[in-house]
Amino acid sequence: MEKTIVEIVDYIEPDKVYAELSHSESGGICVFVGTVREFTQGEEVVSLEFEAYENMALKEMKKIATEAKAKWKLNTVLLRHAVGAKEIQEPVVVVGASAAHRDACFKACRYLIDTLKERVPIWKKELFKNKSVWVSAHP
């Protein structure tokens, strides 16, 4: 039985993801966790703030899951993004897939995060000591 999980949450709990993706017909599970990094181009990030257009973000995340399942034979697919204020080293996004063979789950996992970053309406504001910046807003 195939399973898809798509969620926007306040906090990511990476430790629950393994049980969610585990599947008796899967030989491999690939998971990517995106976390808040201490240094961005040499400047010290104090914290981050994520905002989502939730309706649409969930719709796009479901589409991405469907696309991945059409491209590769997957048993489970998960996309979960956090919103709100995040500190350094906190997880902000987790995506993953399980499949019979590892090639499919690796490629799917990479597709999930790359496409999420391209299309899902979520915005990240980086807070530095003296300023804040909406990431990627300007060329």
Binding site: E51, Y53, M56, V92, V93, L116, P121
Partner: protein, 80 residues
């Protein structure tokens, strides 16, 4: 006609929603909405990209806008 604002769009306009029918011209299409936005708030022209969602789906320039539609400005996304 309400237009939802997120991320830097919210900062540019200074609020979370624009009410377009309050004494103004109502745009008939996505491209008209974009033109109207840029003329009222020139900062929008400086963004890396400017997309519009209609009923929570990305909409191309030729899509028409109706009164009941949920419209949102999608500045460059940066999730993940």
């Amino acid at each position: 006609m309400e237009v939802l604002l997120f991320g830097i769009a919210k900062d540019i306009v200074g609020k979370t929603v624009i009410h377009l029918d309050e004494g103004g011209e109502v745009p008939a299409s996505v491209s008209e909405l974009k033109e109207q936005l840029i003329s009222s708030y020139p900062e929008f022209a400086k963004l890396s990209s400017l997309a519009i969602a209609v009923n929570s789906e990305y909409a191309t320039d030729n899509v028409s806008l109706g009164k009941g539609d949920e419209i949102a400005i999608i500045p460059p996304v940066s999730g993940g």
